[in-house]
Symmetry: C2
Subunit: 264 residues, 2 copies
Amino acid sequence: VKDKPIGIFDSGLGGITVLRSLLEKFPNESFIYIGDLARLPYGNKSPDTIRKYGEQILNYLNKMGTKAVVIACNSASTVFLGEDSYNGIPLFNVIEPGANLAAKTTKNNKVAVMSTTATMKAHAYKKELLKCNPNLLVEEKATPLLVPLAEEGWLHEKITKDIIQKYLNEIELKFDTLILGCTHYPILRDDIKNCLSPDIMLIESGDALAINLDEKLKLLDLKSTDSNHRTIQILTTDLTEHFETLAHNLVKPYKINSFERITL
Amino acid sequence: VKDKPIGIFDSGLGGITVLRSLLEKFPNESFIYIGDLARLPYGNKSPDTIRKYGEQILNYLNKMGTKAVVIACNSASTVFLGEDSYNGIPLFNVIEPGANLAAKTTKNNKVAVMSTTATMKAHAYKKELLKCNPNLLVEEKATPLLVPLAEEGWLHEKITKDIIQKYLNEIELKFDTLILGCTHYPILRDDIKNCLSPDIMLIESGDALAINLDEKLKLLDLKSTDSNHRTIQILTTDLTEHFETLAHNLVKPYKINSFERITL
């Protein structure tokens, strides 16, 4: 079991930022990534539609024999919140670790969250943050243009800065900690940082998640000890060159072993 | 058969601009609109995935007894190009009428097309335009941020103007006619017009399509003569308040009779 791969999924490209973070932190682990490109994005869809898609992917990964699954998508994490396994396989979402880390990080007890519409409407981060510390003030802001901006690849452009600034201006709270509540947003990390004063802390889901995953794998004695045979497999429900190119760039210096198209 | 409804479909909101145009031009006709919100958008997906989704919708509309179907989505029109019926039901796409109208409109024989990535990659407009007039010069430009901008509702904003201007600046051709090659784009009509010199002609699919549809319905003796019982039904594969609100606004002054969720 120890040498089985870890499953990870997202609707599209965003989860690759989480994969990148895990590749660095778990040098012995193999990964199977599923990107549901045929139905992306999830962030503007309803909870039960997202749930249905998520379960189809989880069933697929379970059949492939993954030892644990990371939901590398905030919108999908929202509908699986509080569930720490699925059909017996340990399940990890990106919201709880991000909320925990933000609650520990903030000094003025004011936390802002940028996310998709689906994550915002579910108040997923707010609920988790208040569980950690009921005294926190939390403002959630849906920023739906950031996903297509990241996918378009308009990094370090004035328009990108203007859009981020417009969204930030609409947040009233004087936060000192900002959660990037969508796994696409780390692609725009530099542009977001440039719009913020340097004392504001940015919280990314991937980094926070890696700590939780490491603890749990140790606890369950599931950490791989084989450092020579890591594989990185990417499965998608649709294939586009654009996605392959961007995915290769995002995981650098690591190398993806295979891209394959699947039907769910 | 005459009093049966006309089917119309799109992945989401864009096709509502075509519906609006048809409601005005066909006061006696009833319409069933299907919006595939659970899998939107289509514009960044591969042709065979779009084809599969389109056929599922066409089969559904055929079962409901529509007398004709309008594909109110350029990305879906691309994969059904040249097919004038589906299982015996007359089929209309938005590309051929738009290309025909543009070919007739241009005076300097230079036509530009703004569209999604899927439509651009298929060169659907270019092929149709050159069929009409092989002397035309055509430049196609993918403008993927315009769909989420329209859905976000950022009309008459500086950022919207900047994004449109950036895309327009990347077109080299000195065109006198610009095709809005995505049914979402008429939502941004005013913003696009403001970025263009006033002598440039804008071609919208909905208007061009209405002329073709009218001719064909007359030819097949399928025009409804019942002016008292028009119904406008909207079916979607997902339901969100945001979509309902925007759809209601876009069809004004006409009134949608029902919204219903379906599974394809």
